[in-house]
């Protein structure tokens, strides 16, 4: 346990780091997409385009901050604030190493016994940001975009919740630190199949939850103008984008924490460099980078779902498969182990 001041400073630092990662993720994403499409991507501002996010940030700060005349002023400001605040907050419960390993401090912000519920709750509040954003601007496109986004987000939250059940059944705790300490895949070979299924459903729901392709209906710019973002300009628009990327990072971190051993590295490498599998930060960042690359890869590869397909996929296939995996896990634990 760290003193409160240290916790606050760590939280502030984490927020700034997340925003920095967001800024560079935009460039990395554009460059990787460009590579996949056989072109170069942003490479003019600074070496390798590395100053591009700074230029973008300065540009977006100095843009005119419009408040649409028909808008509900208070809610119009509240919505991006909710989005970014809770997106950043959700990350605090993710453990990034063993206790006291970060220069004598704990490599997490809060060690909650209900860590997983906290993350789900914080991301659910993000839905309010999106819906209120669509509602506040008093424009039909923004309203419909907001409705569609929030319906999609709440539908796929069920997939997240039921996929996590499998892990909870095996781990018997909601504390993310304890889930990482326990090696899920070593418990029983019969559990590998439901775990793998839950991993895939969790990942798919996570991708849908952060509006990435093939589930990026909310920002289907050719169909819906720009969804809930239609009436936002300047920094408020940037805050929504930030929230989305931070949510992507959170999903990547939660998937690695629940299913892939979080901050722990492969124990095999301990033979080469003693203790390398227990280094803080390194493995979590590597795993998150892997998932971020997967998100970008999917974006370059897959076309978008239609809205009715999207809802049917979430409610019928993901929901039933995730629940089925949880029930199989329960049966294995109850009758085999």
């Amino acid at each position: 346990m760290d003193p409160p001041v240290v916790t606050f400073l760590k939280a502030l630092l984490l927020c700034l780091v997340l925003l920095g990662v967001f800024a560079y993720m935009t460039v990395i994403e554009r460059r990787i997409l460009a590579r996949m499409q056989n072109r170069l991507g942003p490479n003019r501002v600074g070496p390798l385009g590395l100053l591009q996010p700074i230029a973008d940030a300065i540009k977006s700060i100095f843009k005119e901050d419009i408040v649409v005349s028909a808008a509900d002023r208070f809610v119009y400001y509240l919505a991006p604030f909710i989005s970014i605040t809770f997106a950043l907050s959700a990350f605090g419960a993710i453990p990034a190493g063993p206790a006291d390993s970060l220069f004598g401090f704990d490599p997490w912000i809060v060690d909650l016994d209900i860590g997983l519920l906290y993350i789900f709750a914080a991301t659910s509040i993000g839905v309010y940001g999106i819906f209120l954003g669509g509602w506040a601007a008093n424009s039909k496109y923004a309203l419909l975009g907001g409705l569609r986004s929030s319906a999609q987000l709440i539908s796929y939250e069920l997939g997240l919740g039921f996929s996590a059940l499998t892990v909870l059944l095996i781990a018997g705790t909601l504390n993310l630190r304890e889930i990482v300490d326990l090696d899920l895949w070593a418990v029983h070979p019969l559990l590998w199949l439901p775990l793998a299924v839950a991993f895939v459903t969790f990942l798919i729901s996570g991708i849908a939850e952060v509006n990435r392709t093939p589930f990026d209906l909310p920002e289907a710019e050719q169909e819906l103008v720009a969804g809930y973002l239609t009436e936002y300009s300047s920094i408020k628009w940037a805050l929504f984008q930030m929230a989305e990327y931070v949510n992507m990072l959170t999903v990547a971190a939660v998937v690695s924490t629940l299913f892939l051993g979080g901050w722990r590295g492969p124990a095999l490498l301990d033979g080469l460099i003693p203790g390398i599998s227990r280094w803080p930060l390194v493995w979590l960042i590597l795993k998150m980078a892997l998932f971020m690359f997967l998100f970008i890869w999917l974006r370059a590869t897959l076309p978008r779902f239609r809205y009715d397909q999207l809802m049917r996929f979430g409610w019928i296939y993901l929901f039933e498969i995730a629940l089925g995996a949880a029930l199989v896990t329960g049966a294995v634990i109850a009758f085999v182990i």
Partner: protein, 108 residues
């Protein structure tokens, strides 16, 4: 955590609001409607599907809320709790099949 995150969010809004040009005009502040003057405002009727999805979400999210403590304490009495969970799932499955047959999840 909330404090730090809220601080960042508020600071960003403030900075964005203070900097940048302020040259608002009636046309610029009008709601977007593909260039033509907006007809009516956005507070009107929208498809009932969204309402149904929200309602179903509440029902099934409560189901997850019931499952979580059950999953966490599952090893205390696995066979008994598994039977309980199956019963609960069957009851909800009846409702789920009902909404499927009613076509609530078929959009258009």
């Amino acid at each position: 955590m909330f404090l730090a995150a809220g601080f960042i969010g508020a600071a960003a809004l403030l900075v964005g609001g203070l900097l940048g040009p302020k040259r608002a005009g009636a046309t610029k502040l009008a709601a977007y409607e593909s260039g033509v003057p907006a007809s009516g405002n956005a507070r009107e009727r929208f498809p009932v599907h969204f309402y149904l999805v929200a309602m179903l979400f509440i029902i099934f999210d409560i189901e997850t809320a019931f499952f979580y403590p059950l999953a966490v304490k599952f090893k205390a009495a696995p066979e008994f709790l598994f039977a309980q969970a199956i019963l609960f799932v069957i009851i909800l499955a009846v409702g789920y099949l009902y909404i499927l047959r009613k076509g609530v999840l078929n959009w258009k």
